[in-house]
Amino acid sequence: MREAPILKADRLSRHFPVRNAFGIRTGAVRALDGVSFEVAPGETLGIVGESGCGKSTLGKALVGIHPLSGGAIVFEGEEISRLSGRERRAVAPRLQYCHQDPGNSLDPRWTVRRSLEEPLIVHTELEAAERVIRIRDLLRQVGLPQTHLDLYPHELSGGQQRRVGLARILALHPRLVVLDEPTSGLDMSVQATVLKLFGELRQAFALTYLFISHDLSVVRMMCDRVAVMYLGRIVEIAPTETLFRAPQHPYTQSLLAAIPDIGGRRVTDTFTLEGEPPDPARLPSGCRFRTRCPRAVAACAETDPALRPLRPDHAAACLLAG
């Protein structure tokens, strides 16, 4: 029997209304459309997919930045999607969200010290002196010198801003951190440093990560399991090595085929996927991937395939998989 999941998402959906020129609702973009998964404590679950697939919406919905249109989130045994105000705020320290762009998520007019102190003032009862100690500890743990406390965000490099963002989150000792594109916009060498830091912090704080990224090679390195999203749905979910070695969904296969493989065959010689994702407000009938799928058959236009288990830990949403 597996350990009870720390987070359970059950048929989450988030619809954004589409309005015409008169402000009348004419349809909806289903950014999340029945997404279900579980995260075990201490696990790193990767969420991958291309822009517009709903992976950021998913991250934001989990921490309550986006309200849900439907579904339920169970976090540490407590259903949190219907909580509001004070009750929801009590959950926040344990369930934190790390913003995509650390440069824009730090207040440009606040020093690092003030940015780090704010979550402690809001969420804890610590005295000023205790807060100072906590802040100094945090700074050391994310590998920044104490002298940086009085700097402003623009005086820091991208990698350092990322560290401050992390320190701010860790201040509250979270249990689960949603990392939204944590390496986008970083240089290769900085990325390596930041990834290593994520690994160390996971150990030190016993964290569980939800790792949202479009970079498959980073996900492969960091995650225990990976969920692949396409147009608001999870199309495949499996342990990392299984997914990369034997992907079952044609979309996952194309996604993996598109990653440059240094020293291997060139993608420019082998890549065959044509076309682009359809307009999310006008989805095709049946399977959402069928318009680009190299293996699509007539049945794909009629049946919308549900995520079905192929093996105990491997599921794919494709009629032809398995």
Binding site: D187, S189, M221, L255, P260, I262, R266
Partner: protein, 347 residues
Amino acid sequence: MLAPDDNLLEVENLRVSFGTERGVAKVLDGVNLTIRRGEIMGLVGESGCGKTTLARAILGILPANARHETGSLRFGGEDLLRMPRRRVDDQIRGRRITFIPQDPFASFNPLFRIGSQAREVMKWKSPRRPEHAGRGLFGFFSRYPRARRKADAADAVEMMRTVQIPRADEAFDKLPHEFSGGQRQRLMIALALMPQPDLVIADEPTTALDVTIQAQILKLLKRLVKERGVSVLFTTHDLGTAYEICDRITVMYAGQEVEMAPVDDFFQRPSHPYTVRLLESLPKPGREPREIGGEIPGLVDPPAGCRFHPRCAHATDICHMKRPATTSVSAAHDLRCYHPVGATVPA
């Protein structure tokens, strides 16, 4: 008119600096680079290494606070830095050297239809335009003969078909926002190839795109330039992308080139310590990425000698004093390092 050898562009000892609040930043400090005809040259480096400045220097569109100091940019045998500004504007930029920008979202005028933006390019930069056509106000009012206009427009539509824009003739009447990112980058490639240039400068053209779209665009770009024999300077920070598309690769670090090699040789026998560490920092299954350690140096007061020496495990006294000269690892593989990795150290 062109030099007898097949080097299309020769950048020699190019220095460009910027006046900043903190002093003069030497953004390019003695850069050497050659691009052969029909070759895709990858320019790889991290942010701040000067790859975008080099691209802009070749195009002649450096910002106003930039100063050319020394060096030369020989394009087809002529030095672009010493060419009259007017000739560069008229006959080189946008005509024989064109540009594919990084961000296809910000690079179209959102208020004009695609067709009008394509026609504008062709009006001024079409290969049919006579060399000594009018400029300024006179040029503005001068005739754009109907026959040429029609031929140019037909070429533009043809080019849109070539880059696989669906229903190319209708695309002419659409606005930029009606296209997806991938399609806009296809349109950008079309605009860059319409004037039939000799050299295309592509500044990280796929960083804003998703991985499946990136694969499509790289495949398309590679096919088109190879068919037409166009040279490309392809700047990127992504070694994987460089592996996909380039024939040769030049690595830049802090405003200087450090290693230059044919693509397969480059990835099989990386020889500069910086290149080796860069490759090791890539995430790969089954091993932790290794960090380089230290930080990219500031360009106002860069380290003397080899600029990588403060971060380099192999550095000795000589590395602090003088920038290494270019040495050859093998036939086409050049290097600027006193202590190449994996080679016997020359006495």
